[in-house]
């Protein structure tokens, strides 16, 4: 069945097809449509699922931890401040090794209050132990949510998975998606068989005190599970392709990289716009390709080394900023290439708070970098002062003038 619908509604269809039994979520723009559609499925009998309307995101994740501890396939969705509010419990879910899937619609952090896209929310949750998969198209949202349950529940992994896609650009954008038949999905995604579940007859405790003698092993085991997840994610992607159809890359997806000597590296919807930039750069005579980081955690270390090491230049586009450092994706790509590559590495920090990212801007800045007109550091190509900014600046200038007059 082909549908024209928003990224959010498509995510809800994926949840329906995955036979999720508990959904626990709190509405937040731009994620609200996901859980609205799921509630509709439940009320119209299309899903046999318990929907828990909680009073906050902190409780949403707490309820998920409860249901996943009972061996039940569980789902939640959030965004931005919602993700930040449940941050503590992200650690809990991963630390007690509970399989579950959550959609995070990438939205900027306030203040200034902003409902549009950037990746600051997701990247701030980087080190919680969650697997993070980033999508660039509607079809990928559907396919990845279904794959995410397989990955999360794999005995080698048993960790929660966050499926991320961009606010408005994907969440509220109507595009076509092939919705697979239930029987087809069922062949790919078997029912959840939990390694354990809370049970009065065989009582146990999750997350009790762990002394220094034992704690490191628990963390090392998580580290190992994320290492194992690399192959599990790749396998899920290729098996999904043969069982259901649709492939969007394993840990990375490449475009026009076969003969490239320059590459763009990006995540999310910028990587889709970036394809158009690659076409345009090629038209202008640059041998340019694109590498999309699909799995941010685990980070595709070897895959990136393989495709980027021998290039002349790499342009990394960040839709987030690590204050006091640089674009986070930039740091990580550089770290991966350290000692393995002589490529020049450039960084655009752009698209924050929904600032539109156009292929023309990417082309212009990539050409500037290739002409040696850009330093190998974070560059903010779309920052410009306008009247709005001058209001606060003038106010501050007045304040200082008054201060110095006294």
């Amino acid at each position: 069945m082909r549908l024209v619908d928003t990224g959010n509604h498509i995510a809800a269809h994926a949840v329906r097809l995955s036979h999720v039994e508990v959904v626990s979520a709190y509405p937040i723009t731009p994620q609200t449509q996901v859980i609205e559609e799921i509630s509709r499925f439940i009320s119209e009998g299309e899903m046999d699922c318990e929907y828990i309307p909680v009073e906050s995101e902190h409780s949403a994740m707490a309820a998920m931890i409860g249901s996943a501890s009972m061996g039940v396939r569980s789902f939640s969705a959030t965004s931005s401040h919602g993700l930040a509010y449940m941050h503590e419990l992200l650690h809990w879910a991963a630390g007690i090794r509970l399989p579950m899937v959550m959609v995070n619609v990438n939205r900027a952090m306030g203040p200034g209050w902003n409902i549009w896209c950037d990746h600051q929310d997701t990247l701030a949750a980087r080190d919680t132990g969650w697997i993070q998969l980033h999508c660039a198209s509607h079809q990928e949202v559907l396919d990845t949510v279904i794959q995410a349950f397989r990955i999360s529940e794999d005995p080698l992994v048993t960790l929660p998975v966050m499926v991320c896609y961009d606010a408005i650009v994907i969440s509220h954008n109507y595009m076509q998606v092939e919705i697979p038949e239930q029987e087809t999905v069922d062949k790919f995604l078997p029912p959840f068989r939990s390694m354990w579940k809370l049970d009065f007859k065989h009582p146990f405790t999750h997350g009790s005190v762990i002394y220094p003698d034992d704690y490191e092993e628990v963390r090392y085991s998580m580290f190992e599970a994320l290492e194992s997840a690399r192959d599990v994610i790749k396998k899920a992607a290729s098996e999904y392709e043969s069982a259901v159809g649709g492939y969007h890359g394993g840990l990375i997806e490449t475009y026009q990289m076969e003969d490239a000597d320059v590459a763009l590296v990006a995540m999310g919807s910028i990587a889709s716009e970036g394809r158009v930039a690659v076409d345009e750069l090629r038209r202008k005579g640059h041998k340019c390709g694109l590498v999309r980081v699909r799995s941010y955690r685990p980070f595709p270390m070897q895959e990136l080394r393989d495709v980027l090491s021998d290039l002349r230049a790499v342009m990394i586009i960040d839709r987030a900023i690590s204050f006091g450092m640089e674009g986070p994706l930039y740091s990580e790509v550089k770290a991966v290439l350290y000692g393995k590559s002589d490529a020049e590495v450039y960084n655009l920090v752009t698209g924050l708070g929904g600032r539109d990212v156009t292929f023309e801007m990417i082309v212009e800045n990539t050409e500037a970098a290739l002409k040696g007109k850009m330093e190998q550091m974070s560059t903010w190509p779309t920052v410009r002062m306008n009247e709005h900014h001058m209001v606060s600046r003038r106010g501050l200038e007045e304040f200082w003038k008054e201060g110095s007059a006294q």
Binding site: R2, V4, D166, I168, N173, Y174, Q176, E273, T358
Partner: protein, 200 residues
Amino acid sequence: MVEIRFHSLGGQGAVTLINMLAQAGDLVGRKVQAFPFFGAERRGAPVMCFLRMDDKEIALRSQIYKPDFLVIMSPSLIDAAIEEGTKEGTTVLINMAEEEARSRTADLPFAVYSVDATPIALDLGMEVEGLPVVNIAFLGAVSYMTELVPLEAVTEVLREKMPPSRVEASMEAARRGFTSVVEIRKSKAASRKERKSAVS
């Protein structure tokens, strides 16, 4: 690829309009993309919407700054709409009676079409709390002007998406929108060329 940008007021139904156009485009086998720019979501506030149709997969995710068609659903938005970006060859469709459109768009360097959608909406009872909902009339008008989706595809979508009690009125609104588009002028460049050929 064809790119259309819509300017409307909150409550006129532009988001539903682009959704339905996308559904109709899908019916006739086009690849579609339709998304709004979300600002203050309140009745009466300016809304921008974007629609792309192509025969191959659409990779672009940015907004539209050089539209092939610029659809202005309220006369108050002409300046704002043009300021948002146009290109040589942009065609404008505006919600206005013919005479008013002739005078108010006289300086525009674009091909201009008008549709008087407000009376159509009012006549068919498409009004929510005093605001005429012109989107369905525009569905027909955009279908006529862009030739991207035939009227049959539009009515098919209406049959599927509208509540049963509103299907007939909606189909009538779309039909009237389709048939009442008036060509105000060809683009300045084109009309100058025509004048030249008329002289020689």
